[in-house]
Amino acid sequence: MSFLRSRYINVAIIFTSAFLMIFTYFFKVQVLSDAATLVQKTVSLFAAFTLVLGAMNLTLIAYRQVQKKAPTAPFSVLAIVVMLMMIITGLIPPLMNSPQFNWMYNNIQAPTDSTMYAMMVFFVASACFRAFRARSKEALVMLVIGSFIIFTYAPIGAIIWPGLPVIGSWIEKYPMTGASRGFSIGVALGGLGIGLRIMLGREKAITGE
């Protein structure tokens, strides 16, 4: 039994799954490809189950809030009520497509989601006004480049001066892409290193230690 609890089981599962993915990327062996697809399907199944886990977790947090009589308890209750309403209306046939579910989605979820995102327009404007100050040479460079990019994407840029989007596009094409490439390569190399550590069981948090 102690062997089953040991980290070697976890490392073996991780190593086998990762090896399957890497091997089938480079070589076409039908049996291994099928096994890789099975692993991917299993991950997909687990991911679907995490939604249930999330719902359970939210309910538990709300229950604790109510138990403690926290000031935010009414909001937690509302969140649970709305979640249950969405689940129940979603289960009415035809699944996820009943008029009740669509009404709730169209009139509650979609407008509130969009409103939250749209409010960023105001925050971004206010943040730009306060943060974009040329307090140093570096800040001035950022300010100038930011201005060119703003007018590259706004049609009014070309009307103010046709050169604005041209310069903006050049900045985007060369300096920005160069920096972005460097960043991507760095992230990829870091990912490779972490991946190898996980495969070999050197990342202790992953193996449950």
Binding site: L51, R133, T177
Partner: protein
């Protein structure tokens, strides 16, 4: 001198409500009374258009509605105009989403708006619904469609859909289009469809994700991309379907202009305040 300093101080720390009111006004006026500013078509949008134009009729195109309702104002217009172009060219779209509500958004906000005379669900387009599992889900879908989506969004078995009879894996797609506001995004599509199966990829991007996307476009791993509302507006002009995006671009222009003016005012006030303080010291 102190009075001047006080004014500059007030400008520098302008009340946030004034900024908000200015923004509301500058967005509302162009929406109520559009100016119709000319829109220049960017090279990347043109690449998208040219590629779709050249696809033979009946080609199967995967369209990833990788957004929720919050991302819809920016990505929705792009998805709508891509879908309209796909229907205009008699291509066959397969709708999927790694976002819980993406497939639903397609059915609610895209499909009803499409001008698609004579097109029949199951024969000319399908919606395969939600794919759980992020990139792993996409990878499984790419290798075997029915393994991960045995039924479509309407709960019909995929083998009963006429269009899906010969479509078994990503190798049968002639193009993949993804409009994403997070994960799964263009990187996941690129790795699983383009790298593994050679499927050309088009991206409808949020403007903030463009810097990460341009290297893939320059290396020709991505066929083309449209950037935010501006990209959707350009595409609406190209396909002769002016709509929501074109109408919104005037508001976007005036918003950007006001933000720029505010930045300039803030900086001028800061410089003027420094100048007056220096004079006082000397």
């Amino acid at each position: 001198m102190n009075e001047n300093k006080g004014i500059f101080d007030k400008i520098e720390n302008m009340n946030v409500r004034i900024i908000y009111i200015l923004i509301i006004i500058c967005i509302a006026i162009p929406i109520i009374r559009p100016v119709g500013l000319p829109i220049q078509i960017s090279e990347s949008t043109m690449s998208v258009y040219d590629f779709i134009e050249k696809l033979p009729e009946g080609s199967v195109v995967l369209v990833g509605f990788e957004t929720g309702a919050a991302g819809w104002p920016e990505l929705g217009p792009q998805l709508n105009i891509f879908m309209q172009h796909i229907f205009d060219k008699n291509l066959k779209p397969i709708i999927v989403s790694g976002n819980v509500d993406g497939a639903q958004l397609a059915e609610m906000y895209t499909i009803p708006q499409m001008n698609k005379p004579g097109k029949v669900y199951g024969k000319d387009w399908v919606n395969l619904g939600y794919i759980a599992g992020g990139e792993s889900g996409i990878a499984a879908f790419a290798s075997s469609i029915t393994s991960i989506t045995p039924r479509d969004y309407f709960n019909t078995p995929v083998e009963n859909l006429e269009m899906m009879k010969d479509i078994k894996s990503a190798a049968d797609f002639k193009l993949a289009i993804v409009c994403s506001w997070g994960t799964p995004g263009h990187s996941d599509y690129l790795r699983q469809y383009t790298t593994n199966f050679g499927v050309p990829l088009i991206v409808g991007a949020q403007t903030t994700t463009v810097p990460g996307l341009v290297p893939y476009y320059q290396s020709k791993q991505v066929v083309g991309y449209t950037s935010g509302l501006r990209g959707a507006g350009e595409y609406e002009v190209l396909t002769h379907h002016p709509g929501y995006a074109v109408a919104s671009l005037d508001a976007a222009s005036s918003y950007h202009l006001v933000v720029f003016v505010l930045i300039v005012i803030g900086n001028l006030a800061m410089v003027a305040k420094r100048f007056t303080t220096k004079k006082e010291v000397t």
